[in-house]
């Protein structure tokens, strides 16, 4: 009986266990995993990060004229596992992870744009491979005719 | 890890497991099924209680749509595994009913799809 009276008085003077959510921000741990940052100058375009990503959040599309790659990243598909950071080779180190989470967005066409980008990534790589093969065959043929 | 895999004829499976299984020595783990080269392979696996990772696996290969004998009176847990394999692989165990995971008029035998 005395135990319960002592507990009641102790609880009367202690702070609540919850925080006042909209008026106070929720606490963030500095070890939390967040979105991936990309440095274009150090990248060597080996495409290993695109191979390893489990949900497919990193895509590379290829330009059909000068065969250069462009990097696309979807922070809403990313699971923050940092496999891409570990897969990037030692001489490049172009990817790193910060502790910010992806911000909320109200873009209604976000899904359609990303699905179109996936198709574009596959088709642009196939077409560039074909273009390179025909270019190499065309540059071989004139040499054979002069010999 | 000690693994002992033993091939067995599908007709003798009930007699063999009734003779082998003693619930204070062996622990029944799972019934497993594979589909390769148009043949089903079913595995029954047991481990020894108290020993470090000692496995005993019986396996049998049957043509697809063969009527397989059920073990649910010797091992009550086998009823759940047989129902699951009937739904997903099409392994026709005696006394099993479709509809545990997939609806009765839904997709047929999804685990037979190869890449």
């Amino acid at each position: 009986m005395t135990n319960s009276i002592l507990n009641a008085i102790k609880n009367l003077f202690s702070k609540p266990a919850t925080i006042d959510y909209p008026f106070e921000k929720s606490p963030k741990n500095k070890e939390a995993r967040g979105i991936i940052l990309f440095e274009e100058e150090s990248c060597i375009w080996c495409l290993k990060c695109e191979d390893v990503c489990p949900p497919g959040a990193i895509l590379f599309t290829q330009n059909r004229e000068n065969f250069e790659y462009t990097y696309h990243y979807n922070p809403y598909l990313c699971i923050y596992c940092s496999e891409c950071v570990r897969a990037c080779p030692d001489k490049a180190r172009a990817l790193s992870q910060c502790d910010e989470l992806s911000p909320p967005s109200d873009d209604k066409n976000m899904n359609d744009k990303w699905f179109a980008l996936e198709k574009e990534a596959l088709s642009s790589k196939d077409e560039c491979k074909e273009l390179k093969k025909t270019k190499r065959e065309n540059s071989d043929v004139p040499q054979q005719s002069t010999e | 890890m000690k693994l002992a895999k033993e091939p067995i004829n599908i007709e003798d499976i009930r007699a063999k497991i009734t003779e082998f299984y003693d619930s204070s020595i062996w622990h029944f783990v799972c019934i497993n099924g594979l589909f390769e080269n148009d043949e089903l392979e079913i595995q029954w696996s047991f481990t020894k209680i108290g020993a470090k990772d000692e496995w005993k696996v019986f396996y049998a290969k049957v043509p697809e749509n063969y009527l397989l004998p059920s073990l649910s009176d010797i091992l009550p847990t086998a009823k759940m595994y047989e129902g699951e394999l009937r739904d997903l692989l099409g392994a026709n165990f005696e006394g099993s009913v479709k509809g545990m995971f997939i609806e009765v008029d839904g997709l047929e035998n999804p685990l037979r799809i190869k890449r």
Partner: protein
């Protein structure tokens, strides 16, 4: 022959956390027959693991089968693949994997105990246990980076290391947690309406536990000393001195006490692992592709989790078979429900601790 009626405990119910449907055949409030229907959340994980994802990515897919035992699935798959590829894992990585597994066990048992308290009508204890569980969630966030789905285990080792200040904060939080759980244990042992009124209700006898191959805390509360941690060498439990906890009665009260004492044993294992942590790398390099067959099991908070893999030298696996503990315990649960009153069913189902996302993958 008297008349019987069928009463359902439907797929949506206040006492259930996840959808499962039972249909009871009752005669004047005593249950005579039970039919169970699991499989409401089937997502086709086994097919996805062999067709859409490569073998390095399957570890992240499989962790999302269940929310409460996520790291157990990930660890079991990784151990099976490392055996197929014959990789050596550094000793420090094994110790870190053991610490993550035991932290997961502590938070899962605290969730089950708080749900039991809510079903007994004791809502203040439910909120208080959840507040104490926040200490464990903060520890997990400091160690792995996330609170529930820690993508911590990958092929070859673990992803993140422990620094000295993280270890210090872990030790102080665990010491505080031991005091709080001791207060909760005193309530469970002495309060009538919380646990003592359920002595003799929902009993699984020792013979039926052997016959139905019941797993995990359900078996250990009925007198069957069966624990995968005693029978497997892949994680260093034997070096740290592990003892399993067994009680003889088999009713709801015995299961609650087994889970409470397992929390203390897990905290002791974590502190022993932090004391004896070896030095070294946290991961080794991965080369090649897997080939062959492998069988592996690990102890989840609810029982024994089993994986079978078959591969033949490619980037994609041939067959992945997952067996989860709740799926194997369903016949045992059906045996325990026969002969009980209908009014006790909510408390009995909560004491089995069913995880339906694991059951119907």
């Amino acid at each position: 022959m008297s008349k019987t009626i069928n009463i359902p405990l439907g797929s949506q119910h206040i006492a259930l956390l996840e959808p499962v449907r039972f249909s009871f055949e009752c005669e004047n409030e005593k249950i005579i027959g039970v039919e169970a229907d699991v499989g409401y959340v089937h997502r086709g994980v086994e097919l996805a693991c062999t067709t859409k994802f490569k073998f390095k990515q399957v570890g992240y897919v499989v962790a999302r089968v269940c929310g409460l035992c996520a790291i157990i699935h990930s660890t079991c798959y990784t151990l099976a693949v490392e055996e197929l590829m014959e990789l050596e894992v550094p000793k420090k990585a094994s110790y870190l994997r053991l610490i993550a597994n035991e932290l997961d066990r502590v938070h899962s048992h605290l969730l089950c105990l708080s749900h039991t308290a809510e079903n007994a009508g004791f809502e203040a204890l439910f909120m208080r246990t959840m507040k104490d569980r926040e200490l464990v969630m903060e520890t997990q966030e400091a160690m792995t980076g996330n609170r529930v789905q820690f993508d911590y285990v990958s092929i070859g080792g673990v992803n993140k290391d422990i620094s000295v200040e993280i270890e210090g904060s872990m030790r102080s939080k665990l010491a505080l947690l031991k005091q709080k759980v001791a207060e909760i244990e005193e309530l469970f042992l002495n309060n009538w309406s919380l646990s003592l009124k359920y002595k003799g209700v929902g009993v699984i006898t020792k013979e039926s536990a052997y016959r139905c191959s019941v797993l995990g805390p359900l078996a250990r509360a009925s007198g069957v000393d069966f624990d995968v941690r005693n029978e497997s060498d892949y994680l260093p439990y034997a070096e740290l001195g592990f003892k399993s906890i067994v009680m003889q009665d088999g009713d709801i009260h015995a299961r609650n006490i087994v889970r409470l004492k397992e929390i203390f044993e897990s905290i002791r294992l974590i502190e022993a692992a932090l004391d004896g942590m070896p030095d070294g790398d946290i991961a080794s390099k991965v080369r090649g592709t897997p080939e062959g067959e492998s069988y592996m099991r690990v102890e989840a908070p609810r029982g024994e989790c089993f994986y079978y893999l078959k591969a033949s030298k490619g980037q994609y696996l041939d067959r992945v078979r997952i067996k989860t503990p709740t799926f194997g315990s369903v016949p045992g649960m059906i045996e325990a429900l026969k002969g009980q009153n209908y009014a006790d069913v909510a408390a009995i189902v909560a004491s089995f601790d069913p995880c339906l996302s694991c059951t119907a993958r």
